[in-house]
């Protein structure tokens, strides 16, 4: 049985965008401390699309092989978060994190570990901020480094077929002074979206109904 489709209202969509924006902005500030240079972010894009479309959205934009750090989250709402970038950027990102003085061999040796930690700072930081603002806790899996195309990165459990709908949100990021760019993406299935929607409703009530009259 397909879960009933939940369409977010304008204000719910707005609140979710704002939550993601605050979460990602805080993690970008964390990454900035690690790499010592400015991280540029786009405005989050949020859509309910078929799983197939989500894969295609990443695939279309990126012809090259991708590398991703993936963390699953579970709790009041569950899903998968990914930090994705072209594989060609991978070593440069590691270099940005560990410093330019390391030899190429040393950089290659710690690539996976450094990527996992970078992904952890971004994804965990973003989700933790969102969970705090929603007054819920989330548990996060350990970061896992994957290589492949969009289809492989977004594999999302057996229960979800290609036409199953998912909440798909993504943000572009880039480093100002290096040739590094990528995406932060999150996927949630519809039961999770329904739970998230209730929490967003509470969040909106909280921020709207503090005992201060609303502007006319």
């Amino acid at each position: 049985m397909a879960a009933a489709f939940v369409k977010l209202s304008e204000i719910e969509h707005d609140a979710l965008t704002e939550l993601v924006n605050i979460g990602v902005s805080r993690s970008a500030a964390g990454l900035r401390l690690m790499v010592g240079e400015e991280i540029l972010l786009s405005v989050p894009s949020i859509d309910v699309v078929s799983h197939k479309t989500a894969v295609a959205l990443i695939g279309e934009r990126e012809g090259d092989e991708l590398i991703a750090v993936r963390q699953d989250f579970a709790g009041a709402f569950s899903g998968r978060a990914l930090l994705i970038f072209p594989q060609a950027n991978s070593l440069e990102l590691v270099r940005a994190v560990v410093g330019d003085e390391m030899s190429p061999e040393d950089i290659a040796a710690i690539e996976k570990e450094a990527l996992a930690e970078t992904g952890n700072v971004i994804l965990n930081g973003c989700l933790a901020t969102m969970a705090n603002m929603l007054h819920r806790s989330l548990s996060m899996s350990l970061p896992e480094v994957l290589r492949g195309d969009g289809g492989r990165l977004f594999e999302f459990g057996e229960h979800l077929d290609d036409d199953g709908l998912v909440l798909f949100l993504y943000i572009n990021f880039a480093m100002r002074d290096r040739d590094i760019r990528g995406y932060i993406a999150m996927l949630m299935d519809l039961p999770s979206l329904a739970s998230l929607r209730l929490l967003i409703g509470d969040f909106i009530d909280r921020v709207m109904n503090e005992d201060i009259p609303i502007a006319v």
Binding site: D14, A15, E18, G23, R26, A29, I204, I212
Partner: protein, 126 residues
């Protein structure tokens, strides 16, 4: 003279939250909203805006670009740029256009310094 504050944010919810917090600090001020930089510039061109609170991460021009344009047009208008993105470059660019940096999520406490400073400045200039 009633003071009018312009709140610029692409998020309606964020505008409501900012408006409420400003109302709590300065109940007599008028509040006007815009959802992007172009709309904000059009509102400001009408000439009744005394100060502005700008979201950083917006589609189109971001809050710092808007702050820079407003600064050129209005050298003394109190401006605040609001973001959760507390990177040094963003803070220092806000400072370079003489705008106050306010961290998101917006609370009364976070806005208090900017709002009371602006109130004082507008009174002494006014």
């Amino acid at each position: 003279m009633t003071i009018t504050v312009l709140i610029v944010d692409d998020s309606k919810l964020a505008r409501i939250v900012a408006a409420k917090n400003i109302h709590a600090l300065q109940p007599d001020w008028n509040r006007v909203e815009a959802s992007n930089a172009d709309e904000a510039l059009a509102v400001v061109a009408d000439g009744k805006i005394d100060l502005a609170v700008l979201d950083y991460n917006m589609p189109g021009k971001n809050g710092l670009e808007l702050a820079a344009e407003l600064r050129t047009l209005y050298p003394t208008m109190p401006l605040a740029v609001i973001t959760a993105n507390v990177q040094e470059e963003i803070i220092s660019r806000a400072r370079a256009v003489n705008a106050t940096f306010v961290a998101k999520p917006v609370t009364e406490d976070a806005l208090r310094g900017f709002i009371s400073g602006a109130a004082l400045r507008l009174r002494t200039e006014g």
